[in-house]
C-alpha cells in the first residue's frame, strides 16, 4: 500500500523535467468540446484545467478537466494507472450527493487521460485556512464538520462496497459559492516510490496510524476528518508537527472559542485505535448535532465567505453576510468603549507598578512620592516623599509598604498612615522591587548587591555581591533566592546568601524571575526567555524573541507569558518553551503582565493596555493611555489598575 502518500499534491512545483511543456495551452480544444481556459492546479500526475463546454454555445458552462499523464515506460504500470483513472471515473459517476462533484465525461488521448467534471466555484479549505487572519468561527466549523460526516456516511454506506475516501484533508475539501462543502479529488492513483529516501513534510499529517499497516477503513476517514477539523480550529498544520501528535495539542489550548464538547468529539475521532473512534461517520454526525449550540444562539450562516475575527479582535463580515454576533465580548479596535472607573493624576511619570491591599492602592512616582490612593474611588489618601524618583514597585505585607528609591534607600512605611518605620541605605539607586518573604525583605541595588534585610528593624542579614546593578526583583522559594543582574548572571543563592548556582545569560537580566515546580523563568536583554532547572541551574529550554527582554514573565497553569522589546507578547508552553501564540503591539513591551481568570493584561510602549484571552491570544479589549505603559497592571476584584508615563493611574473594568 503505497498509494496514500502523495508527495506532489498541488499546488506544488512541477516535477523537474517533467512538466511545464506538457501543460495544455489555453484555448486548446479537447474532443471538439472542451476549450481550456486556465489551469486550476498542478498535481504529480498532471494538471487540472478549467474549461468551457462548447456544447452549450449559448450559456457559459464551465467544467473542470482533470488530466493524468501516463508517462511510464513500463506497460504494466501504464495499464495500472489508466485503470486507476477509470476507477475514479466510475466511482464518481455512480454517486449522487450534494457534496460530491458531478462527473460528465471521461476519455483518453494517447498518453493522457481526462476526466470532465463539475466546476466548483469556490476555494479549498487549505487556502481558506492559510488566508484567514484568525480563527474561523466555531459555528461555521460545526456546519462543515456535520456536512463532511454526512458525505462520508454516504460514501461509507455505498453498495456493494463501501467507498473509503482515504485522503480527507483540507486541500481535498472545497467550500463552494453557496458555502456548501464539496469533496474533491477521489484520486486513488498517487505517485510515491518505495525505497527512496524522502521526507513526508508537507504531504502527511492527516492519515490515521493504521493506514501505514495497509488498512483503509471508514474509521480512517473519520480520523482524517478529525485531523482536518483540528487543523482548522487550532490553525496548527499537522504536516509541520510530529505525526499522530494531536493529543499533545488540545484544541482549546489554542482556540478558546471552541466548546469542550466539540473538542471532545474531535479528539475521539483522533484516537489511535480505530475501535476507539466513532463506529461510523453517522455516529459522529449525531454526536456533533447533539453538542452543537442551538441555532438560536448561533449567528446566521450567510454570505459567500467565512466570517473571521481579525487579529485586532474586530469582527469582519464579508459583503453580503449578516453581521455575526461574536462568541466572546469583543470591543472594536478603537477601544473607546473601555471607560476608566476613575483616573488619578500624579506629578510625573509612573514607572512603578501598583499594589492594591485592603482597599488602598500604593504606587511610586518619579515625582519622588509613594502614593496611597483609595482603590474604589481614586481619592488621594497620603503621599510619602523620598529624595529620589521611585521606579521600584511597592510590596505590602502585614500593614507595611516596602519600596526602593533613587535616593539609594529602601523604605518601610506604615500602610495606613504613611509614616516611616525604618529605612535602609545602599550605595546606589534602588530600582529593583522588594520581595517580602520569611521575615526578610530581599531587594537589589544598583550598587551591585542583593540585600536580605530583616523586617523587624531594617537591619541587614546578608548581602550578595554581584558587581553589577541588580534591578531584577528576587523570587524566594523555600530554600532559594533567585535574581538576575545587569552582567547577565542569574543567581540562585540559599537563604544564608551562599551561592548555589549561577546561570550566565549573554546580556543583562533585568527581568524578575518566577518559579513553577522545578523551573525558574526569566527574560534577558540577550533576547531570550530562559527556563532553568531549580536544582541544577541547567538550561531546560530557551526561547528567542527578536529583541531584548526587559519585562518579567508571569505564569498560569500551563503557560508562561512575557513581552519583548520586539513588540510581541508571547505565550509559551511552560514545559517545552514552544510558543502557543503571540500578539503584536506597536511598541516595546517592558512591563510584566498579570493573569486573572483566563485573561492576561499588560501595557506596551504604544500607550495601550491590552487584555487578551489566555487560551487563544485573542484581544479582549485594549485601552489607550496618553503615554507608554511600562508598569505592570494589578488586578483586584474585577478591576485592572494600571499606570502610564502620562502621569495617570487608571482603574479599568477587567
Amino acid at each position: 500500500m503505497v498509494d496514500q502518500i502523495d508527495t506532489q499534491k498541488f499546488p506544488g512545483p512541477p516535477s523537474p523535467g517533467g512538466g511545464s511543456e506538457s501543460v495544455l495551452q489555453t484555448n486548446t480544444v479537447l474532443q471538439n468540446r472542451y476549450r481550456i481556459t486556465g489551469v486550476l492546479g498542478m498535481g504529480g500526475m498532471g494538471a487540472v484545467y478549467q474549461a468551457r463546454d462548447l456544447h452549450f454555445p449559448n450559456v457559459k458552462r464551465m467544467v473542470a478537466v482533470k488530466e493524468m499523464l501516463n508517462t511510464s515506460t513500463n506497460p504494466q504500470i501504464r495499464e495500472a494507472t489508466l485503470r486507476n483513472f477509470e476507477r475514479e471515473a466510475d466511482i464518481l459517476a455512480s454517486l449522487t450527493h450534494p457534496s460530491v462533484p458531478k462527473i460528465y465525461d471521461y476519455f483518453s488521448i494517447r498518453d493522457r487521460a481526462y476526466l470532465v467534471m463539475e466546476y466548483i466555484n469556490g476555494r479549498d479549505l487549505e487556502e481558506i485556512i492559510n488566508k484567514a487572519s484568525d480563527f474561523i468561527k466555531v459555528e461555521i466549523v460545526y456546519q462543515w464538520a456535520i456536512d463532511l460526516c454526512d458525505v462520508l456516511s454516504y460514501l461509507h454506506s455505498h453498495e456493494p462496497e463501501p467507498i473509503v475516501f482515504r485522503d480527507v484533508k483540507p486541500s481535498n475539501i472545497m467550500i463552494d459559492q453557496h458555502r456548501h462543502v464539496r469533496l474533491i479529488d477521489f484520486g486513488i492513483a498517487k505517485t510515491f516510490e518505495i525505497g527512496q529516501k524522502g521526507t513526508m513534510i508537507g504531504t502527511e499529517g492527516y492519515s490515521p496510524p493504521e493506514q501505514y499497516k495497509g488498512q483503509a477503513s471508514p474509521q480512517g476517514d473519520i480520523y482524517a476528518l478529525g485531523a482536518t477539523l483540528h487543523h482548522i480550529l487550532t490553525r496548527r498544520d499537522p504536516r509541520l508537527e510530529p505525526p499522530f501528535s494531536f493529543k499533545d495539542r488540545p484544541i482549546r489550548d489554542y482556540n478558546g472559542n471552541v466548546d469542550p464538547e466539540f473538542e471532545a468529539v474531535i479528539m475521539r475521532s483522533l484516537e489511535y485505535r480505530p475501535e476507539d473512534r466513532y463506529p461510523s461517520a453517522m455516529a459522529m454526525k449525531s454526536a456533533l448535532e447533539h453538542v452543537r449550540p442551538s441555532p438560536d444562539s448561533a449567528p446566521a450562516v450567510l454570505g459567500t465567505a467565512p466570517i473571521m475575527h481579525n487579529s485586532a479582535g474586530a469582527v469582519t463580515a464579508p459583503v453580503g453576510a449578516q453581521a455575526a454576533k461574536p462568541s466572546t465580548a469583543f470591543f472594536p479596535s478603537g477601544g473607546s468603549e473601555v471607560i476608566p472607573l476613575w483616573t488619578f493624576r500624579c506629578e510625573d511619570e509612573i514607572r512603578s507598578s501598583p499594589a492594591v491591599v485592603y482597599g488602598n492602592l500604593y504606587v511610586g512616582c518619579y515625582d519622588n512620592g509613594l502614593y496611597c490612593i483609595g482603590a474604589n474611588d481614586g481619592k488621594f489618601k497620603w503621599r510619602y516623599a523620598t529624595e529620589g524618583g521611585i521606579a521600584s514597585s511597592p510590596a505590602v505585607a502585614d500593614g507595611v509598604v516596602y519600596f526602593g528609591s533613587d535616593d539609594y534607600a529602601l523604605y518601610a512605611v506604615d500602610a495606613q498612615r504613611g509614616r516611616i518605620l525604618w529605612s535602609f541605605h545602599t550605595e546606589a539607586p534602588v530600582r529593583s522591587s522588594p520581595r517580602v518573604a520569611l521575615g526578610h525583605v530581599f531587594i537589589g541595588s544598583d550598587d551591585g548587591n542583593l540585600y536580605a534585610i530583616r523586617i523587624d528593624g531594617g537591619r541587614r542579614a546578608w548581602a550578595m555581591e554581584t558587581g553589577d546593578p541588580v534591578r531584577s526583583t528576587a523570587y524566594v522559594t523555600d530554600d532559594l533566592v533567585l535574581f538576575g543582574c545587569d552582567s547577565g548572571d542569574f543567581y540562585a543563592v540559599d537563604l544564608s546568601g551562599k551561592l548555589k548556582w549561577r546561570y550566565k545569560a549573554r546580556r543583562g537580566v533585568i527581568s524578575s524571575p518566577v518559579v513553577q515546580e522545578n523551573l525558574v523563568f526569566f527574560g534577558s536583554m540577550d533576547w531570550h526567555i530562559y527556563a532553568i532547572a531549580l536544582d541544577t541551574g541547567w538550561n531546560v529550554w530557551s526561547y528567542r524573541t527578536t529583541k531584548a527582554i526587559a519585562s518579567s514573565p508571569v505564569l498560569d497553569d500551563s503557560n508562561v507569558y512575557i513581552g519583548s522589546s520586539d513588540g510581541y507578547f508571547y505565550a509559551l508552553d511552560c514545559k517545552t518553551g514552544r510558543d502557543r501564540w503571540k500578539f503584536e503591539t506597536e511598541g516595546q513591551i517592558a512591563t510584566k503582565a498579570v493573569v486573572h481568570q483566563n485573561a492576561v493584561y499588560f501595557g506596551s510602549g504604544d500607550g495601550y493596555v491590552y487584555s487578551l484571552d489566555t487560551k487563544s491570544g485573542q484581544l479582549r479589549w485594549k485601552f489607550k493611555t496618553g503615554g507608554p505603559v511600562v508598569s505592570a497592571p494589578f488586578v483586584h476584584e474585577g478591576v485592572v489598575y494600571v499606570c502610564s508615563l502620562d502621569h495617570n493611574v487608571y482603574a479599568l473594568t477587567a
Binding site: 513534510i201 502527511e204 501505514y212 499497516k213 509541520l240 549561577r502 549573554r506
Partner: protein
C-alpha cells in the same frame, strides 16, 4: 571560516595521554547507491599548558536526501555550516577565553538552525538528517534531527541517545507497529523532521554528564538499520582501536548488502576530567 569536512586526521596511533579525545571515522557509499550522500565532521582539539588542559570535540553525521546530487550537497553544506558556527562561536572563545563563555547547547542548536536555513535556501530540493555532538567540560551536548543516531557504548552495552524522527518510529511509540514491523516497513525511510524542509524546525536536545572511558558512536541509518545491534556491540567490544572499529562496522554493513550509504564516527571519551579550562567556565 570554511572547514574541509572529515579531513581531520585521526590520532589513534599516537601515544597520546588518555585525557584527550580520540576518534575514528569512516564513510562508504555502500553497494546499493551510486553516490555517497552521507557526510561527517570530526573536530577534536586538545589544549595543554601549564595552567591545565582541555579537550573539545565536535562530531557531526549527516545523511542527505534528494535527487540530482542535492542530497550530498545538502549533507555537506549542513556539516560545514554547523562546524563553522561551533568552532567560531564556541571553540575559539573557549580557547582564547576572551569572550563570554558560550552556552554550548545553544551554540550547537544555532549551528544546526543556521544549516537549516542554508540548506533551505541553497538546496530547495535537498534535505538532510543531522546528529551533532559537542564534548566539553565533562558533558556531552547532542542535537538531533532525522534518523541518524548517537549511541553511548559502555563495555558490551550500547544505548541510543537519540530518537529517530521517522514515521515508523512514531508508529512504534504509539504501539501501532512492532519494532520488527518497523524494520521491514516500506516507509521506514520516511522522516517527519529534517534539515532543509521548513524554516520552522524543532530540535531534540540532550545534555548529559560524560561517562569517562565510554565511547560515543554517531552513525547513519546505513549502519544501524542494516547491522543488528548485537553484532555492532560485538564488533565494538572486540575492537578497542576506534578507527579499526569504524572500518569493521562499515564492512559489516556491506556484508549485509550495503543497501545505503554507511557512515560511522566513533569517539573514545577521556578517562578523566579536564584539569582546568583556559576560558571562563560556561554555565554554573
Amino acid at each position: 571560516m570554511a572547514l574541509e569536512p572529515a579531513q581531520v586526521t585521526n590520532n589513534h596511533t599516537l601515544q597520546a595521554p588518555v585525557d584527550t579525545l580520540r576518534f575514528g571515522h569512516g564513510s562508504d557509499v555502500g553497494q546499493g547507491r551510486k553516490n555517497n550522500q552521507d557526510a561527517c565532521t570530526a573536530f577534536a582539539a586538545t589544549y595543554a599548558a601549564a595552567q591545565g588542559r582541555m579537550s573539545f570535540g565536535l562530531f557531526v553525521v549527516a545523511d542527505g536526501m534528494g535527487g540530482h546530487m542535492d542530497g550530498e550537497k545538502a549533507s555537506s553544506l549542513c556539516i560545514r555550516v554547523v562546524t563553522d558556527h561551533v568552532v567560531e562561536a564556541a571553540y575559539l572563545p573557549l580557547l582564547t577565553g576572551q569572550d563570554e563563555a558560550p552556552d554550548l547547547m545553544e551554540t550547537l542548536n544555532e549551528g544546526v538552525l543556521a544549516s537549516n536555513l542554508a540548506v533551505t535556501e541553497q538546496m530547495p530540493n535537498g534535505g538532510t538528517t543531522v546528529t551533532a555532538a559537542i564534548i566539553y567540560g565533562g558533558k556531552i551536548y547532542i542535537t538531533q534531527v532525522g534518523d541518524s543516531r548517537a549511541y553511548l557504548v559502555e563495555g558490551r552495552h550500547m544505548k541510543a541517545l537519540t530518537r529517530d524522527h521517522s514515521l515508523v518510529q512514531r508508529l512504534v511509540e504509539l504501539e501501532q507497529l512492532t519494532p520488527e514491523q518497523a524494520a521491514e516497513h516500506p516507509h521506514r525511510n520516511i522522516l517527519y523532521r529534517a534539515i532543509g524542509q521548513s524554516e520552522h524546525l524543532e530540535l531534540d536536545n540532550k545534555i548529559m554528564p560524560m561517562p569517562f572511558g565510554a565511547r560515543l558512536l554517531l552513525c547513519s541509518d546505513g549502519l544501524w538499520m542494516v547491522v543488528p545491534e548485537a553484532e555492532m556491540m560485538d564488533i565494538l567490544a572486540a575492537t578497542p582501536n576506534s578507527q579499526a572499529a569504524c572500518e569493521k562496522l562499515i564492512a559489516a554493513a556491506n556484508a549485509y548488502g550495503g543497501p545505503d550509504n554507511i557512515t560511522a564516527v566513533l569517539v573514545d571519551l577521556p578517562d578523566c576530567p579536564d584539569i582546568a579550562e583556559p576560558g571562563p567556565t560556561t554555565d554554573r
